[in-house]
Protein backbone atom coordinates (compact mmCIF):
# COMPACT_ATOMS: atom_id res chain seq x y z
CA UNK A 1 0.00 0.00 0.00
CA UNK A 2 2.83 2.41 0.85
CA UNK A 3 4.44 1.38 -2.42
CA UNK A 4 1.35 2.41 -4.40
CA UNK A 5 1.20 5.72 -2.53
CA UNK A 6 4.86 6.42 -3.30
CA UNK A 7 4.33 5.64 -6.99
CA UNK A 8 1.31 7.94 -7.29
CA UNK A 9 2.95 10.83 -5.42
CA UNK A 10 6.04 10.89 -7.63
CA UNK A 11 8.58 8.68 -5.87
CA UNK A 12 11.48 7.05 -7.69
CA UNK A 13 9.40 3.97 -8.46
CA UNK A 14 6.77 6.15 -10.15
CA UNK A 15 9.35 7.69 -12.49
CA UNK A 16 10.88 4.31 -13.31
CA UNK A 17 7.41 2.92 -14.07
CA UNK A 18 6.60 5.84 -16.39
CA UNK A 19 9.96 5.32 -18.08
CA UNK A 20 9.28 1.60 -18.55
CA UNK A 21 5.79 2.13 -19.95
CA UNK A 22 7.08 4.84 -22.30
CA UNK A 23 9.79 2.47 -23.52
CA UNK A 24 7.29 -0.33 -24.11
CA UNK A 25 4.90 1.99 -25.98
CA UNK A 26 7.80 3.04 -28.22
CA UNK A 27 8.70 -0.60 -28.76
CA UNK A 28 5.05 -1.27 -29.64
CA UNK A 29 5.15 1.52 -32.24
CA UNK A 30 8.32 0.06 -33.78
CA UNK A 31 6.98 -3.51 -33.83
CA UNK A 32 3.35 -2.86 -34.72
CA UNK A 33 3.43 -0.14 -37.34
CA UNK A 34 4.63 -0.38 -40.94
CA UNK A 35 5.42 3.26 -41.72
CA UNK A 36 9.12 3.90 -41.15
CA UNK A 37 8.33 7.43 -39.93
CA UNK A 38 6.16 6.12 -37.08
CA UNK A 39 8.87 3.60 -36.27
CA UNK A 40 11.32 6.51 -36.08
CA UNK A 41 8.97 8.26 -33.63
CA UNK A 42 8.90 5.05 -31.58
CA UNK A 43 12.70 5.05 -31.39
CA UNK A 44 12.61 8.66 -30.16
CA UNK A 45 10.11 7.64 -27.47
CA UNK A 46 12.42 4.83 -26.30
CA UNK A 47 15.33 7.27 -26.13
CA UNK A 48 13.21 9.63 -24.03
CA UNK A 49 12.30 6.80 -21.68
CA UNK A 50 16.01 6.24 -21.05
CA UNK A 51 16.44 9.97 -20.35
CA UNK A 52 13.59 9.95 -17.80
CA UNK A 53 15.20 7.04 -15.96
CA UNK A 54 18.66 8.70 -16.05
CA UNK A 55 17.48 12.02 -14.64
CA UNK A 56 15.22 10.33 -12.07
CA UNK A 57 18.21 8.40 -10.71
CA UNK A 58 20.33 11.60 -10.80
CA UNK A 59 17.75 13.45 -8.68
CA UNK A 60 17.21 10.64 -6.17
CA UNK A 61 20.94 10.20 -5.66
CA UNK A 62 21.46 13.81 -4.60
CA UNK A 63 21.01 15.98 -7.69
CA UNK A 64 24.54 15.76 -9.10
CA UNK A 65 25.38 17.81 -12.22
CA UNK A 66 26.85 14.73 -13.96
CA UNK A 67 23.38 13.40 -14.80
CA UNK A 68 22.47 16.58 -16.66
CA UNK A 69 25.86 16.60 -18.46
CA UNK A 70 25.17 13.08 -19.72
CA UNK A 71 21.65 14.12 -20.71
CA UNK A 72 23.21 16.92 -22.76
CA UNK A 73 25.46 14.43 -24.58
CA UNK A 74 22.53 12.06 -25.15
CA UNK A 75 20.40 14.71 -26.84
CA UNK A 76 23.35 15.81 -28.98
CA UNK A 77 23.71 12.22 -30.22
CA UNK A 78 19.91 12.00 -30.63
CA UNK A 79 19.96 15.10 -32.83
CA UNK A 80 22.67 13.49 -35.02
CA UNK A 81 20.63 10.30 -35.17
CA UNK A 82 17.50 12.22 -36.19
CA UNK A 83 19.31 14.09 -38.98
CA UNK A 84 21.01 10.99 -40.42
CA UNK A 85 17.91 8.80 -39.90
CA UNK A 86 15.61 11.19 -41.73
CA UNK A 87 18.16 11.52 -44.55
CA UNK A 88 18.06 7.71 -44.84
CA UNK A 89 14.23 7.80 -44.92
CA UNK A 90 14.35 10.31 -47.79
CA UNK A 91 16.88 8.10 -49.59
CA UNK A 92 14.70 5.03 -49.10
CA UNK A 93 11.68 6.91 -50.43
CA UNK A 94 13.63 7.86 -53.57
CA UNK A 95 14.44 4.20 -54.22
CA UNK A 96 11.06 2.60 -53.42
CA UNK A 97 8.52 5.46 -53.72
CA UNK A 98 7.16 4.39 -50.33
CA UNK A 99 7.86 4.69 -46.61
CA UNK A 100 6.33 1.27 -45.92
CA UNK A 101 8.93 -1.02 -44.37
CA UNK A 102 7.22 -4.12 -45.82
CA UNK A 103 8.22 -2.89 -49.28
CA UNK A 104 11.87 -2.54 -48.20
CA UNK A 105 12.46 -6.18 -47.27
CA UNK A 106 15.14 -6.83 -49.90
CA UNK A 107 18.58 -5.25 -50.08
CA UNK A 108 18.42 -5.05 -53.87
CA UNK A 109 15.50 -4.04 -56.02
Amino acid sequence: MTSLHSILSGGLQGYILVSLLLFLTGLGAVLGRRSILVQFMGVELMLNAANVALLAFARFRGGDAQGTVFYLFIIAVAACEAAVGLALVVGLYRHRQSTDTDRADALKQ
Binding site: L8, G28, L37, L45, L55, G63, Y71, F73, A78
Partner: protein, 162 residues
Amino acid sequence: MFILFALLTLAGAVALTFQRNLVVAGLCLVLSFMGVAGLFLLLANPVAAALQIIVYSGAIVVLLLFVIMLLNEHQEEPAQRSRPLQRWLSALLLAGLAAGAVRLVTGSAALRGLEGVPVPAAMNLDRLGQALFSDHLLAFEVVGLLLLAAMVGAVALVKRDL
Protein backbone atom coordinates in the same frame (compact mmCIF):
# COMPACT_ATOMS: atom_id res chain seq x y z
CA MET B 1 1.32 17.17 -10.71
CA PHE B 2 3.34 13.98 -11.23
CA ILE B 3 0.21 12.08 -12.24
CA LEU B 4 -0.77 14.82 -14.69
CA PHE B 5 2.59 14.86 -16.50
CA ALA B 6 2.94 11.07 -16.43
CA LEU B 7 -0.52 10.67 -17.99
CA LEU B 8 0.28 13.37 -20.59
CA THR B 9 3.47 11.51 -21.56
CA LEU B 10 1.86 8.09 -21.81
CA ALA B 11 -1.32 9.37 -23.51
CA GLY B 12 0.77 11.06 -26.20
CA ALA B 13 2.80 7.89 -26.73
CA VAL B 14 -0.28 5.62 -26.95
CA ALA B 15 -2.09 8.05 -29.27
CA LEU B 16 1.00 8.07 -31.52
CA THR B 17 0.97 4.27 -31.72
CA PHE B 18 -2.66 4.08 -32.80
CA GLN B 19 -2.85 7.21 -34.97
CA ARG B 20 -3.45 6.67 -38.70
CA ASN B 21 -2.53 10.20 -39.84
CA LEU B 22 1.23 10.76 -39.67
CA VAL B 23 1.04 14.54 -39.11
CA VAL B 24 -1.28 14.02 -36.14
CA ALA B 25 1.10 11.31 -34.89
CA GLY B 26 3.92 13.90 -34.99
CA LEU B 27 1.79 16.27 -32.91
CA CYS B 28 1.11 13.44 -30.41
CA LEU B 29 4.90 13.08 -30.18
CA VAL B 30 5.13 16.78 -29.20
CA LEU B 31 2.51 16.14 -26.47
CA SER B 32 4.56 13.26 -25.13
CA PHE B 33 7.80 15.31 -25.16
CA MET B 34 6.02 18.13 -23.29
CA GLY B 35 4.96 15.63 -20.64
CA VAL B 36 8.57 14.43 -20.32
CA ALA B 37 9.71 18.07 -19.96
CA GLY B 38 7.18 18.47 -17.13
CA LEU B 39 8.58 15.37 -15.44
CA PHE B 40 12.07 16.90 -15.68
CA LEU B 41 10.75 20.07 -13.97
CA LEU B 42 9.39 17.94 -11.14
CA LEU B 43 12.82 16.29 -10.89
CA ALA B 44 14.27 19.73 -9.94
CA ASN B 45 15.97 20.02 -13.34
CA PRO B 46 14.65 23.06 -15.28
CA VAL B 47 17.75 23.05 -17.54
CA ALA B 48 16.90 19.59 -18.85
CA ALA B 49 13.24 20.60 -19.27
CA ALA B 50 14.23 23.63 -21.39
CA LEU B 51 16.64 21.52 -23.47
CA GLN B 52 13.93 18.89 -23.96
CA ILE B 53 11.47 21.47 -25.32
CA ILE B 54 14.05 23.24 -27.53
CA VAL B 55 15.79 20.19 -29.00
CA TYR B 56 13.04 17.55 -29.11
CA SER B 57 9.75 19.44 -29.40
CA GLY B 58 11.47 22.16 -31.40
CA ALA B 59 14.18 20.87 -33.68
CA ILE B 60 13.61 17.13 -34.05
CA VAL B 61 9.81 17.18 -34.42
CA VAL B 62 9.94 20.10 -36.87
CA LEU B 63 12.48 18.18 -38.96
CA LEU B 64 10.26 15.08 -38.80
CA LEU B 65 7.14 17.04 -39.86
CA PHE B 66 9.09 18.61 -42.73
CA VAL B 67 10.06 15.13 -43.95
CA ILE B 68 6.47 13.83 -43.61
CA MET B 69 5.12 16.74 -45.64
CA LEU B 70 8.00 16.62 -48.15
CA LEU B 71 7.37 12.94 -48.90
CA ASN B 72 3.59 13.53 -48.99
CA GLU B 73 2.99 10.32 -47.04
CA HIS B 74 0.23 11.43 -44.71
CA GLN B 75 -1.40 8.02 -44.37
CA GLU B 76 0.07 4.61 -43.85
CA GLU B 77 -0.66 2.57 -46.97
CA PRO B 78 -2.78 -0.56 -46.56
CA ALA B 79 -0.89 -3.76 -45.73
CA GLN B 80 0.14 -6.05 -48.60
CA ARG B 81 -0.15 -9.10 -46.35
CA SER B 82 -1.71 -9.47 -42.95
CA ARG B 83 0.71 -11.11 -40.57
CA PRO B 84 -1.39 -12.37 -37.66
CA LEU B 85 1.35 -14.56 -36.16
CA GLN B 86 3.91 -11.73 -35.94
CA ARG B 87 1.23 -9.39 -34.59
CA TRP B 88 0.29 -11.79 -31.79
CA LEU B 89 3.92 -12.59 -31.01
CA SER B 90 4.84 -8.91 -30.64
CA ALA B 91 1.76 -8.26 -28.47
CA LEU B 92 2.71 -11.24 -26.32
CA LEU B 93 6.33 -10.05 -26.06
CA LEU B 94 5.21 -6.55 -25.02
CA ALA B 95 2.74 -7.88 -22.44
CA GLY B 96 5.35 -10.25 -20.99
CA LEU B 97 8.00 -7.52 -20.79
CA ALA B 98 5.52 -5.09 -19.21
CA ALA B 99 4.34 -7.58 -16.58
CA GLY B 100 7.87 -8.69 -15.67
CA ALA B 101 9.26 -5.15 -15.50
CA VAL B 102 6.38 -3.79 -13.41
CA ARG B 103 6.75 -6.66 -10.95
CA LEU B 104 10.50 -6.08 -10.75
CA VAL B 105 10.16 -2.32 -10.15
CA THR B 106 7.38 -2.47 -7.57
CA GLY B 107 9.10 -5.27 -5.68
CA SER B 108 12.60 -3.81 -5.66
CA ALA B 109 13.95 -3.04 -2.19
CA ALA B 110 16.90 -1.06 -3.63
CA LEU B 111 14.60 1.40 -5.41
CA ARG B 112 12.50 1.80 -2.26
CA GLY B 113 15.67 2.54 -0.28
CA LEU B 114 16.29 5.67 -2.38
CA GLU B 115 12.77 7.06 -1.79
CA GLY B 116 13.42 9.30 1.21
CA VAL B 117 15.99 11.59 -0.45
CA PRO B 118 14.98 15.27 -0.02
CA VAL B 119 14.55 17.43 -3.13
CA PRO B 120 18.03 18.75 -4.07
CA ALA B 121 18.72 22.35 -5.13
CA ALA B 122 17.39 22.96 -8.65
CA MET B 123 19.95 22.44 -11.42
CA ASN B 124 21.13 25.71 -12.97
CA LEU B 125 23.34 26.59 -15.92
CA ASP B 126 26.11 27.69 -13.56
CA ARG B 127 26.61 24.23 -12.07
CA LEU B 128 26.07 22.52 -15.41
CA GLY B 129 28.68 24.70 -17.11
CA GLN B 130 31.20 24.11 -14.34
CA ALA B 131 30.82 20.33 -14.66
CA LEU B 132 30.74 20.43 -18.48
CA PHE B 133 33.84 22.56 -19.04
CA SER B 134 36.01 21.26 -16.21
CA ASP B 135 35.43 17.49 -16.19
CA HIS B 136 34.01 16.78 -19.66
CA LEU B 137 35.76 19.25 -21.95
CA LEU B 138 37.14 16.60 -24.32
CA ALA B 139 33.74 14.87 -24.62
CA PHE B 140 32.15 18.25 -25.34
CA GLU B 141 34.55 18.90 -28.21
CA VAL B 142 34.00 15.38 -29.57
CA VAL B 143 30.23 15.98 -29.55
CA GLY B 144 30.78 19.14 -31.58
CA LEU B 145 32.76 17.12 -34.12
CA LEU B 146 30.05 14.44 -34.15
CA LEU B 147 27.38 17.05 -34.94
CA LEU B 148 29.49 18.34 -37.83
CA ALA B 149 30.00 14.79 -39.15
CA ALA B 150 26.26 14.08 -38.90
CA MET B 151 25.45 17.27 -40.78
CA VAL B 152 27.88 16.45 -43.60
CA GLY B 153 26.60 12.85 -43.66
CA ALA B 154 22.96 13.93 -43.90
CA VAL B 155 23.73 16.29 -46.80
CA ALA B 156 25.77 13.57 -48.57
CA LEU B 157 22.93 11.04 -48.16
CA VAL B 158 20.19 13.30 -49.46
CA LYS B 159 22.09 14.91 -52.33
CA ARG B 160 21.35 13.13 -55.59
CA ASP B 161 24.69 13.39 -57.37
CA LEU B 162 27.58 14.52 -55.23
